[in-house]
């Protein structure tokens, strides 16, 4: 019998510009339905978590089920504030880029719950190996906005001496590893850091973040393999915001299965969590943190979320996805959801919320002024170009000295 001709399958998202976005086929379990296993549960007994979705906040803003972390309202308000500050920061920095004060900016709109709750869930000495979309980690830990802005402006107070693209922050003091422009490279580095901590009998663990698209990179596989083989104390996060610039998550394998299920093949627990649910992210992170801290090994967490805005200031998403898609996202907005929860608890009000929003906007504005006094890209005071030649090596070799002299700086 002659075989039928083969054909090539190319994934295609459900909706393109002009189409009506439709998320009705997304299986979204109700909040509170997923049980919380003991932290020493074997990876194999946890397969279902890779397909389920841990959710704590229900549609009415109540915290329900096993995974409710029962956080003190102060911490909830701290988280809400961090998310709102992150958004306010993003909004301003996006605008200043548009005003030509720097070359590039990148927001995390809609994804604030992830970084903000995880920063709070982790301990100070833990080292975080973020991708470029985790500015919330710094903000939730109270890191100086002015310092962040100085970096974005590559100005005279930029601790990175104008060397890095805006948003590629580094803050060892804050446990925030220097961001790389190369996707995924930090994933296995985090594992190495965690192995070093374990080797030294330290108690600090590591965490790393990649996007859905980045899971396809080699370093994702390296990270998973080394984490599994050496049972490193590390939390490996996949932020599945549905998009990788213009490519939907089907081009990373998301058409066939969940990203959390990648954990299965390495014998690691993989959990899928509602990434727009501050409480759920916090709870799952705490679970993974406890596991790692107790030397029980690494965990993979898939944060199911949506990139509500453009990829970056270089991108216009209306060219490849329906404009209304982000509003239709069924898991809502993380800030609104935590706000509603706090109001439901009687621990917050619309008035307080509006006031806080105003306060944070002002805080960002003040920080902006302060930072701009140190210069913006190409305007105002500028760094000396001599910094270009420093820190290539610990000690400057002759050829760089010669080149610096040639430039006359």
């Amino acid at each position: 019998m002659k075989a039928k001709p083969l054909s090539l399958h190319i994934p295609e998202p459900k909706a393109r510009p002009g189409d009506t976005p439709d998320f009705s086929d997304l299986e979204i379990p109700s909040a509170g339905t997923v049980s919380r296993p003991a932290v020493d549960t074997s990876a194999k007994a946890m397969h279902d978590y890779a397909y389920d979705l841990v959710r704590v906040l229900d549609d009415d803003g109540n915290a329900v089920g096993d995974w409710d972390p029962k956080l003190d309202p102060d911490i909830l308000r701290q988280g809400l504030r961090a998310m709102m500050l992150t958004r306010a920061y993003d909004d301003r920095m996006y605008r200043v880029q548009r005003q030509g004060k720097t070359s590039f900016y990148l927001k995390c709109t809609g994804e604030e719950a992830i970084a903000c709750s995880q920063a709070i869930a982790l301990q100070d000495r833990d080292m975080m190996f973020p991708s470029y979309r985790q500015q919330g980690l710094l903000i939730a830990r109270g890191w100086s906005l002015v310092d962040m802005m100085n970096q974005v402006y590559s100005n005279t107070k930029d601790r990175l001496k104008g060397r890095q693209l805006p948003i590629m922050y580094s803050s060892k003091e804050c446990g925030f590893f220097t961001i790389s422009g190369n996707l995924g490279t930090q994933f296995c580095q985090a594992v190495g850091w965690a192995m070093a901590s374990a080797y030294k009998g330290d108690t600090a663990i590591a965490a790393s973040w990649v996007g859905d698209g980045t899971t396809a990179e080699a370093d994702f596989h390296s990270g998973m393999t080394f984490a599994s083989v050496y049972q490193a104390p590390v939390i490996l996060n996949v932020v599945n915001n549905q998009w990788a610039i213009s490519s939907y998550q089907g081009f990373a394998g998301g058409e066939q299965t969940t990203f959390a299920s990648r954990a299965v093949g390495y014998g690691l627990p993989g959990l899928r969590v509602d990434g727009n649910d501050f409480l759920a992210v916090y709870a799952v992170t705490k679970w993974a943190e406890e596991r790692a801290r107790n030397n029980l090994g690494p965990t993979l967490i898939e944060h199911f979320t949506y990139r509500a805005d453009a990829h970056s200031t270089s991108d216009d998403p209306s060219a490849y996805r329906p404009k209304e898609e982000s509003e239709r996202w069924p898991l809502g907005d993380p800030i609104e959801r935590l706000k509603d929860h706090l109001i439901g608890l009687g621990q917050w009000s619309e008035e307080q919320h509006d006031e806080l929003a105003k306060e944070l906007k002002e805080q960002v504005k003040q920080a902006g002024k302060e930072a701009e006094a140190n210069g913006t890209l190409g305007q105002g005071p500028q760094l000396s170009a001599k910094y270009m030649f420093e820190d290539v090596y610990k000690e400057m070799p002759w050829h760089l000295r010669e080149q610096r002299q040639e430039l006359g700086v």
Partner: protein, 341 residues
């Protein structure tokens, strides 16, 4: 004939070849529906369908490996690496596999494929959107390396690269996608429409690989360069008012050694200009070739004008970029020997 910028010329080359040859496939990150972050593949998916032009996983090694497999089957894949800075995850597949396929199998399996990638600085892209890694690939036997400096050449060279039966690295200097940048960042940008090489045939044509072009004839010194730096060099020559010969190498490997030799033997002086870092950059090989072949004709040391041996730093775009002032200085240095200032 149309007026095209380099993006349009590249798009036209791909379109022309996809139209002529159903075995030409185009893919890469964001290349399909969206048409590429620099729009070089815009409209191709719509015209040829999603199995001819499509997005890929973000895995540069996988993209190249997939292209190698397709080429081994008999197709002519054209893969895009979104930025040359991100080509390193594919380094092993390029160097150990594509480059050696014909050799190790004695011609049973070959890798007729093109890897297109935007390179170079001048756009405030910081250290991970500005690199010029072309020199690395010229050290690898089995690869060809091409870098056009204008729309006309871009189309002709890309077509020749797609038709080539060996793997070709095709680097596109992104700074000149929209116009011939001469390094004067403080002046208004020139569009390609005002440049002779912005006149591009709509139909098929080839520019043979391995052939340099003398873009300015001259007698006092030879400037060897390629990509964006062709325009910087031409500008520096004009501003210095010297009678320099500017050679746009276009293909780095195989290099057009005849063109180089002929020129340097005539002028006796040579400046080499590239944007990549200096140490062990392609300029070193050019210098070696010139000194090996033109030693007795050289009247002054050859000069290199290149990027510094540092990563490309965001804030110091113009201190890093080897602009016309530095090229002029080198020209003067090479000529001063005889008192010409």
């Amino acid at each position: 004939m149309s007026r095209m910028n380099m993006i349009q010329a590249i798009n036209s080359a791909l379109d022309t070849m996809m139209d002529r040859d159903p075995d030409v496939l185009v893919f890469g990150e964001d290349v399909g529906y969206f048409g590429g972050v620099f729009r070089c593949t815009a409209g191709l998916q719509e015209k040829y369908g999603p199995t001819r032009c499509f997005d890929t996983p973000i895995a540069e090694g996988g993209i190249v490996a997939t292209a190698i497999g397709m080429a081994a089957y008999g197709l002519r894949p054209v893969a895009e690496i979104q930025f040359a800075d991100y080509i390193y995850p594919a380094f092993d597949q390029i160097v150990s596999e594509a480059a050696r396929m014909r050799y190790r199998s004695s011609g049973e399996f070959t890798s007729p494929m093109v890897i297109r990638s935007p390179c170079g600085g001048g756009i405030f892209g910081g250290q991970t959107h500005s690199q010029s890694p072309e020199g690395l690939f010229t050290h690898v036997a089995g690869l060809k390396t091409v870098m056009p400096s204008n729309p006309y050449d871009a189309k002709g060279l890309l077509i020749a690269s797609i038709e080539d039966d060996d793997p070709v690295l095709f680097f596109e200097p992104k700074r000149i996608y929209n116009g011939p940048f001469d390094g004067h960042h403080d002046r208004p940008v020139q569009p390609w429409t005002k440049h002779a090489k912005g006149e591009v045939p709509d139909e098929y044509y080839r520019i043979e690989l391995g052939k340099a072009e003398v873009t300015r004839a001259g007698n006092d010194l030879t400037i060897l360069t390629y990509g964006t730096m062709v325009h910087v060099a031409e500008c520096a020559v004009e501003e210095t008012g010297v009678d320099a010969e500017v050679i746009d190498l276009r293909t780095l490997l195989p290099i057009d050694v005849e063109a180089i030799e002929n020129s340097v033997k005539k002028t006796g002086r040579c400046v080499i200009v590239h944007e990549a870092t200096k140490t062990s950059g392609f300029g070193a090989e050019l210098m070696a070739l010139v000194q090996e072949r033109c030693f007795y004709h050289l009247e002054a040391p050859i000069e290199r004008v290149t990027g510094w041996d540092t990563p490309y730093p965001h804030a110091f775009e113009w201190e890093y970029f080897p602009g016309p002032a530095r090229v002029q200085k080198a020209i003067r240095k090479v000529l001063e020997i005889e008192g010409v200032a």
